[in-house]
């Protein structure tokens, strides 16, 4: 049950781009801050909304 809960939370965090943000911080050796989130978010959202959404 605990494992299922962890998995569900991980899926939600992936959908919320929070996992991607952690990967971004790790890849760039950066720490969390407002400007860093905005940098990540702009890059991520630009790529995300250049693709068609499904019907």
């Amino acid at each position: 049950m605990k494992r299922l809960g962890r998995l569900l939370l991980a899926i939600l965090r992936e959908l919320a781009d929070e996992n991607a943000y952690q990967r971004h911080l790790a890849a760039h050796g950066a720490t969390h801050s407002g400007p860093e989130w905005r940098r990540f978010s702009e890059e991520r959202l630009r790529a995300k909304y250049a693709r068609a959404k499904c019907c």
């Binding site: 939600l12 992936e14 919320a16 781009d17 971004h24 969390h32 978010s41 959404k53 499904c54």
Partner: protein, 685 residues
């Protein structure tokens, strides 16, 4: 142990066959929705365990020793090996749109049986196979898109056609889903207020996420959800207020222009301000509601009120005209097979797959779950009394503009309903009227509200659940409209950038505003056309959308067949060729009938000719409006024709390539990335 396994799967397959037989042969009595749930679940399990396993082992030869692009090209950005269930959730959230909810509801006009059978069979043998093969192909090609694969495997023509088809489909898709929202919100102050309130809520979320709590998307979405739920309660107060209700009681045309303005603003404004927070919220709400509906159906186990077949199998249906073949198939569309999924399967997902074997649950399994959503939608529609279902979904132009006339027409069809029944239902859900609320969303909301209210609370809470369901549908349809407009703008800027470079710059404001206006204008035109249509618009726009979507699936299956042919010769090409032949037959027949059928309710040209004759004879009330209708019918015919030509070209091009391969004259080289041994341990993810 092995024997137990055989025994288990024999039981699952037998239950699937027994349930399918029961729903297929049952006549004259109401059947329980659990039969549909069991038939679908056991069929999916059997197809997943045997057919998908056969494809992955014998045809694709998935190999976990081979490094995936996520491992080889890992960059902490888009290429990232990810736990397979996380990729599954991500992929399902990306493919789940309004299509599998709305299409089955509309197709229920034939009765529950044709739609149910096609959703199950079409998904197992067609839709899931398409998604799976395209995901596999993209994964073996460093995550290339469908257009890139079409160009490499078939030729330059295929790649260009795939791009143009996607752009055209998006215009039709955005118009038709916007029309669904318009028909759900017209004359509904409660609904209009709730949806209007989601705009400031989304902007608040955008500011919260950017400046106050950067990175806290889940926390922000939870706050947004609470606020949206609050707006549903506030909407009820607005609907009951003598001063506020008239302000939010909007006509269809007013809502259409409000959505057009919204689409323009969302496309031109910074993405973090409105689009992204709304998208996060709608994704979570969508997944939550799908789960709630599944639990609700299992808990309530409602009986289906619609018969297995209705009289409209003869093609005279009020919701859309045409016989089961081909119109049931193009109406269900995404619930069984969706061309758009091939864009997702060749988009983000292949860049996240850690091991090749994960493509099996992600590609094939996600589509089965999507198909199950379609089954739930058909159940939600079929739990309504048939008279109510047809009263809600039939346009006033067919059943009559007054409650008495509409009730009399529908009762004469053999589906009794009275104005008093409809008035009571409208009162219970907090609406002024539920007659002719075409588009599928209101009837789906009624079905969902019935199921949720039956789980607890009864009639006292049915109004809340109805508006909760409307909010859920409108929220993620509007997300598709704003994101789709933005994507259309990027595509257009990309094309125009070759002619005038500044127009291609996404940071140049005049270019952004101009291209946004063009894209919004394109789908907005079809939306207004749908609103003005005396038959409700859905009758002409939804088949156009279904045809275009299924033709995109045909393009994807052409690419998939070419790849299988290059890998194995003719041995396994039937896997994608059988659904391709079916799709081409159904879609080309539908497109041909929509253009050339002599029945005005079906054929666009005969509809235009009929209107023209009436105009010349001076039998129309408004000549200007009739001229517009004539032009629109011919425009729809032309668009249908363009879709047919585009796909015919890619089919001929594919046949040329296939003939070359089979007769040994053509190139058989697959364009896969070279083998690299995997170093990744998937269990660590």
């Amino acid at each position: 142990m092995k024997l137990l396994g055989y025994l288990f799967w024999a039981v699952v397959a037998s239950v699937a066959a027994f349930c399918l037989g029961t729903i297929a042969l049952s006549r004259g009595e109401h059947i329980n929705s659990l039969w549909l749930v069991l038939a679908a679940a056991c069929s999916y399990a059997t197809a997943y365990r045997f057919y998908a396993k056969f494809i992955s082992a014998r045809v694709m030869m998935l190999n976990d020793e081979r490094a995936t692009p996520a491992e080889r090209l890992q960059n902490g950005h888009d290429f990232e090996p990810t736990n397979k269930w996380i990729v599954f959730g991500h992929h399902f959230a990306a493919i789940a749109g309004p299509g599998p909810l709305v299409g089955p509801v509309l197709a229920a006009q034939f009765g529950y049986l044709p739609g149910t059978l096609w959703i199950i069979i079409g998904a197992c043998l067609g839709g899931a196979v398409q998604d799976f093969v395209i995901l596999f192909a993209s994964m073996r090609r460093d995550g290339k898109s469908l257009g890139q694969m079409a160009r490499e495997e078939i030729g330059k023509v295929g790649g260009f056609i795939a791009l143009v088809t996607v752009l055209l489909i998006m215009v039709i898709l955005l118009a038709v889903v916007a029309l669904v929202v318009v028909n759900a919100l017209k004359g509904s102050p409660w609904g209009a207020f709730t949806i209007a309130a989601t705009m400031p809520i989304a902007i608040f979320m955008g500011l919260y996420l950017r400046y106050w709590r950067p990175g806290k998307v889940l926390e922000c979405s939870a706050i947004g959800f609470v606020l949206v739920m609050g707006s549903i309660f506030a909407g009820q107060a607005v609907g009951e207020s003598a001063s506020l209700a008239p302000v939010f009681t909007l006509s269809a045309m007013t809502i259409a222009f409000a959505i057009i303005l919204y689409g323009f603003l969302a496309s031109a404004l910074p993405v973090w301000l409105l689009l992204a927070p709304r998208d996060y919220l709608s994704t979570f709400v969508k997944l939550g509601v799908v789960l709630m509906l599944a639990i609700g159906i299992l808990f309530v186990r409602p009986e289906l009120q619609l018969p297995a077949f209705t009289r409209f199998t003869d093609g005279t249906g009020p919701i859309f005209a045409g016989k089961i073949f081909p119109f049931c198939f193009i109406t269900i569309a995404c619930g069984a097979i969706s061309g758009f999924h091939s864009l997702i399967s060749s988009g983000t997902t292949p860049k996240m797959i850690a091991k090749e074997s994960h493509a099996w649950p992600v590609g094939y399994g996600s589509m089965l779950l999507e198909s199950f959503v379609a089954i739930m939608a058909i159940i939600a529609a079929c739990v309504l009394q048939p008279g109510i279902y047809f009263a809600v979904n039939s346009p006033a132009g067919i059943v009559g503009a007054t409650p008495a006339a509409a009730a009399a027409t529908i009762t004469a069809w053999g589906f009794p309903v009275t104005p008093a029944d409809m008035a009571l239902l409208a009162h219970n859900v907090g609406e002024q009227s539920l007659f002719s609320r075409t588009g599928g969303a209101p009837s789906l909301a009624l079905g969902m509200a019935h199921i949720f209210a039956s789980s607890g609370g009864g009639q006292a809470v049915i109004g809340f659940w109805y508006h909760f369901a409307i909010m859920f549908e409108a929220l993620f349809i509007l997300t598709i409209i704003d994101a789709g407009t933005r994507v259309g703008r990027f595509m257009l800027q990309d094309l125009l950038g070759h002619i005038a470079p500044p127009l291609g710059r996404t940071s140049w404001m005049p270019g952004v505003i101009g291209t946004s206006a063009v894209v919004v204008g394109a789908w907005g035109y079809f939306l207004v056309q749908g609103v003005r249509d005396p038959l409700g618009g859905i009758n002409s726009l939804w088949p156009l959308f279904g045809i275009s979507n299924q033709l995109l699936a045909a393009i994807a299956l052409c690419v998939a067949t070419t790849i299988l042919l290059k890998m194995h010769g003719a041995k396994f090409m039937w896997i994608t060729c059988v659904p391709l032949v079916w799709l081409v037959s159904a879609t080309f027949t539908a497109a041909w009938q929509k253009i050339f059928s002599p029945i005005p309710a079906i054929g666009f040209l005969s509809q235009a000719d009929g209107l023209e004759a009436a105009l010349r004879a001076g039998k129309v009330a408004s000549p200007a409006a009739t001229e517009t209708l004539i032009f629109n019918a011919r425009l729809d015919a032309a668009i249908c024709g363009v879709f047919m030509v585009l796909v015919a070209v890619i089919l001929v091009d594919s046949l040329r390539v296939w003939a070359g391969i089979l007769w040994g004259a053509g190139e058989r080289r697959v364009h896969e990335a070279p083998f690299v041994a995997s170093q990744l341990r998937a269990e660590e993810l």
